[in-house]
């Protein structure tokens, strides 16, 4: 019997996947195209036994989510990059006080790469960032993000865009199993109050006077080391047609789908081009890129002024890297501009294939 598919818009599919992952709390503030996720969860969560709050601000939403996460629930929040800018303090706080939750950045474009991967909060922290290329992958990444957040007791981001949010697909959403997780014996439930061993969720990790914690210096070193560990374990990427390629296109998110289409056509025309797609924007799959791009020309495609480009520079010598993306926004400011089109991407790649010899030494 064939799998029964359900027609769902991207935001509804992500909402359903989050519920399948066991998310019982969500708080968000409307902002297009994220709004669809908030609306879907408002409709779905009560029936699923969860809570969805139309928060009065992004700051309130993310702090409600932090509270729910600290109490042990699988919790989520979200917005576009503009709203997530307001959440940066709480995301950093959660990274430092080790509260897991998932942030859905259903953004207006691809210009939040720095925000997701470098962050805007204080202190030494990182945010695990998954960048799906399609609704199907977003559904998987939603559940993976909850798993990774719980595994490492840290906030994780799923970074989508208007194309993902508003594309309707036929899909069958099930609970995915990513393996066992430790018990949340650190979560606040009040049961340890009055026992002399009450719990504490605190960025400074100073503990109680009767049971001192590691305190800031040791705790923040531990946090930094934890993110180093994540960097070493959780890098994810996809390689397409890289083995015989002399040119590698680096593209991520839905931009990678357009690059795939363009590159597949160029390959039919005889060009030896491959694609390297970072799936985790942080941790960035640098060692894999370094291996794949060894001795090859690298073209970086993204709809922004060159953000992922900076991470590529760390793993591929600049003389072999050419940026073929650009800022590209439509007249509403809420969607991609003309660059997100396979013929446009094909032409951008082709220009550099044809001029490879001429430009090879021009980008120092």
């Amino acid at each position: 019997m064939s799998e029964e598919l359900e027609l769902l818009e991207g935001t509804a599919a992500i909402a359903k996947s989050a519920i399948a992952a066991g998310m019982t709390f969500f708080a968000g503030y409307p902002m297009s195209p994220f709004t669809g996720l908030l609306e879907s969860l408002s409709a779905m969560m009560p029936e699923a036994g969860g809570v969805c709050i139309n928060a009065e601000s992004e700051i309130e939403g993310v702090n409600m989510t932090l509270g729910a996460g600290a109490a042990g629930a699988r919790a989520g929040t979200g917005s576009c990059g503009q709203g997530i800018a307001l959440m940066q303090e709480a995301i950093a706080e959660a990274a430092l006080n080790e509260t897991p939750f998932v942030v859905f950045n259903l953004a207006r474009g691809a210009s939040d790469y720095f925000q997701c991967t470098k962050g805007g909060g204080w202190n030494d922290y990182r945010t695990i960032t998954l960048a799906p290329k399609s609704v199907h992958e977003a559904v998987e990444h939603t559940q993976l993000a909850f798993h990774l957040a719980d595994k490492y007791r840290a906030p994780a981001i799923v970074y989508g865009d208007p194309l993902m949010a508003r594309t309707t697909v036929g899909i069958n959403i099930k609970k995915l199993d990513f393996g066992d997780l430790p018990q949340k014996d650190w979560a606040l439930d009040g049961s340890m109050s009055g026992t002399g061993k009450s719990r504490q969720v605190w960025t400074w990790a100073m503990g109680k006077v009767t049971d001192p914690g590691p305190e800031m210096d040791a705790h923040w070193r531990y946090i930094a080391e934890k993110f180093n560990t994540i960097d070493g374990i959780e890098q994810r990427h996809e390689e397409l047609w890289c083995d015989d390629a002399d040119t590698i296109v680096v593209a991520w998110g839905t931009g990678a789908l357009f690059a795939e289409k363009a590159v597949s056509e160029l390959r039919k025309a005889g060009h030896k081009v491959g694609i390297f797609r970072p799936i985790t924007l942080w941790p960035f799959p640098g060692p894999a890129l370094e291996r794949v791009a060894e001795g090859k020309r690298v073209l970086v495609f993204e709809a922004n002024a060159g953000q992922c480009l900076e991470d590529v520079y760390q793993w591929v010598p600049r003389r072999r890297v050419t940026f073929i993306g650009r800022v590209s926004v439509d007249h509403t400011g809420m969607n991609f501009g003309d660059i997100m089109d396979a013929p446009v991407v094909r032409q951008l790649i082709l220009e550099h294939l044809d001029n490879q010899a001429a430009t090879a030494g021009a980008n120092q």
Partner: protein, 267 residues
């Protein structure tokens, strides 16, 4: 030395006099150690009342605290309560998240006036409007104590601070915000009261308010708030022993004591 001219009666002090009522334990078990705040500070008294109230109501083993940022932030080290130390001003939002996923727990916030009324005014108002079943405890001393005596949104008119050296002047600094009155005006709040810890009567009445506020949460009446005026002689630049007097002559004139709202009607 000559003998005393008058023999004083010998009183048995090994047991309490007849008719006395035990109002406090000399060593509350929920307080794990000594506080580190200044002499004359009112905040440790308020903490003690809160901890005793949780015990008196028998709800300790389901109590979760959310503590903001101020001098009282150090209480997370001495409160034997499951605690989230949250971001400045955000305690009611964090408490909302906790309470919504653990509706059987008793969730309280501990915030100062800088935390609740400056940084987090919208959090407490929105949480009250949403009728969140949480209890917010405001420690109001009208000054940023932790940073050394600057003006807050509750600094009273005429009060000298490091950022209002000649006293709060409405023409320059505007007026103080009576947050309890604002919260009481919202349909989603169930219990709102204002007390103080400047003298034994104030302490006794304030403890009663805290217990009523927590009971209101247990009864599901929406957000409850107890504003407690707490002496801050250091931040007020007065001798430690002058705190209660200063409080009475300045803050209590702006912030009158009493229950502003309770289920079924105010006092």
């Amino acid at each position: 030395m000559s003998a005393p001219s008058k023999q004083l009666p010998i009183v048995d002090s090994t047991t309490p006099p007849d008719g006395t009522v035990k109002v406090a334990d000399p060593n509350p078990s929920l307080i794990l150690g000594a506080h580190s705040l200044c002499p004359g500070c009112g905040e440790p008294v308020a903490l003690r009342l809160l901890m005793e109230s949780l015990q008196d109501l028998g709800i300790v083993d389901r109590s979760i605290g959310v503590v903001g940022h101020g001098c009282y932030g150090s209480f997370v080290r001495i409160m034997d309560i499951d605690v989230l130390q949250c971001l400045h001003g955000r305690a009611p939002s964090c408490a909302t998240g906790i309470k919504r996923v653990r509706p059987d727990s008793v969730v309280f916030t501990l915030q100062g006036d800088g935390d609740m009324v400056n940084e987090g005014l919208q959090e407490v108002l929105h949480s009250a409007a949403r009728a969140e079943n949480i209890t917010c405890i405001l420690l109001n001393n009208g000054v940023f104590g932790d940073t050394g005596g600057q003006a807050t949104a509750t600094t009273v008119v005429g009060q000298r601070t490091k950022t209002s050296l000649d006293g709060r002047d409405p023409a320059k600094h505007g007026y103080p915000i009576p947050v309890s009155d604002l919260v009481a005006s919202l349909d989603g709040s169930g219990y709102v009261a204002r007390g103080h810890v400047g003298d034994p009567g104030g302490v006794t009445r304030t403890k009663k308010m805290i217990k009523e506020a927590l009971q209101s949460q247990l009864d599901g009446n929406g957000l409850s708030l107890v504003e407690i005026l707490t002496m801050c002689p250091t931040g007020w630049f007065v001798p430690a022993g002058e705190g209660p007097n200063y409080q009475q002559q300045s803050m209590e004139q702006t912030y009158p004591m009493g229950v502003l709202k309770r289920p079924g009607g105010a006092d």
